[in-house]
């Protein structure tokens, strides 16, 4: 076995290329997916604003806490998808045609941003929803009988605690486990580059 034979063996492997239409379809699907994401995000923002206006008009809240609660809850609903859209760059912004060392740096940065999103931003999202819900319910709870009000308060607090201490950690753990694994792998490849830079 010599260099030329290695080359010959390497070049001996070929494959029938798919038709160019397959590439065209895939590119089209990718662009369409981006458009759908923008459309969904726009839809969420519009629906949220519509919901705020509707609740305001039909339920006529009297306390300022209720109004603030509605706004905070719905702002939380907009906040997460908006943050996601701002934090994760679209395909054109990603450096796929840079050197691999620069690309890995960008990939690591992206994964760091995703982790921030899945932990800190998700935490803020839960806090906003919980606070908003509590403020919103305050007016209605205050008008109830004492026992019923306490019961309602306890149930709401139990629900919020279930979200914060059970649901949120599960979601965060699930999302960050894969991200951490990817980050470790990227760092391992970066080390391979560092050794031979």
């Amino acid at each position: 076995m010599n260099n030329n034979e290695l080359n010959r063996l390497w070049l001996g492997k070929t494959s029938n290329p798919p038709t160019i239409d397959e590439i065209r379809v895939r590119l089209h699907q990718m662009k369409k997916k981006k458009q759908v994401e923008r459309f969904v995000l726009g839809g969420i923002v519009i629906l949220t604003i519509a919901a705020i206006i509707t609740i305001w008009i039909f339920f006529q809240p009297t306390l300022i806490s209720t109004k603030v609660g509605i706004i905070v809850t719905l702002a939380g609903m907009i906040f997460y998808p908006l943050a996601y859209y701002r934090v994760i760059p679209n395909l054109n912004e990603f450096n796929e045609d840079s050197t691999s060392s620069v690309f890995l740096e960008a990939l690591l940065k992206l994964k760091g941003r995703e982790k921030f999103l899945q932990t800190k931003v998700l935490g803020a999202y839960f806090i906003m929803l919980s606070t908003g819900l509590f403020l919103y319910l305050f007016e209605y709870i205050s008008k109830m009988d004492t026992i019923l009000a306490w019961l309602f308060c306890l149930l709401t607090i139990a629900w919020l605690m279930f979200n914060w201490f059970y649901l949120r950690p599960i979601v965060v753990k699930k999302n960050t486990a894969k991200l951490n694994e990817t980050i470790e792998k990227v760092k391992a490849i970066q080390q391979q580059i560092e050794l031979f830079r």
Partner: protein, 155 residues
Amino acid sequence: MFEDIYKKYWQKVFRLCMGYVNDTELVKDLAQETFVIVWNKLSEFRNESTIDTWIYRITSNTCLRQIEQQKRFPRDELPTDLVIENEPDVESKTTFLYKCIAELHEIDRLIISLELENVKQEEIASILGLSKTNVRVKIHRIKEKLMEKFKKYHE
């Protein structure tokens, strides 16, 4: 213009991906993904590097990005729908070569695949962001390792 690029580079991109993952189905997906990016970014290509370097960079980075997708790459034991232009004995040697390459470290896989694709060492350095001297040293070591494996394979 894209059609010409596609015709000229499909086999090269295919082999580079094959050296990286050694899984025919996944390779087709990776190669297609590479050309989707090439098509999408073609209008941004400014001749700052040669078109070869540009396409190999995208291919290498598409391969590297696979680390997001799966834990371990499945390996092809036998080629499935490949067009083999050689004798059966050569075919098994080729399969063995790709298997050996896919078992190397990620960057080593890319270096040797580009070298065997007859890409200049200077260009390999520019694709991966390494120094030319280190690429030369690395190629020498990887080839030694491959020769050693082939020696054992023949025994």
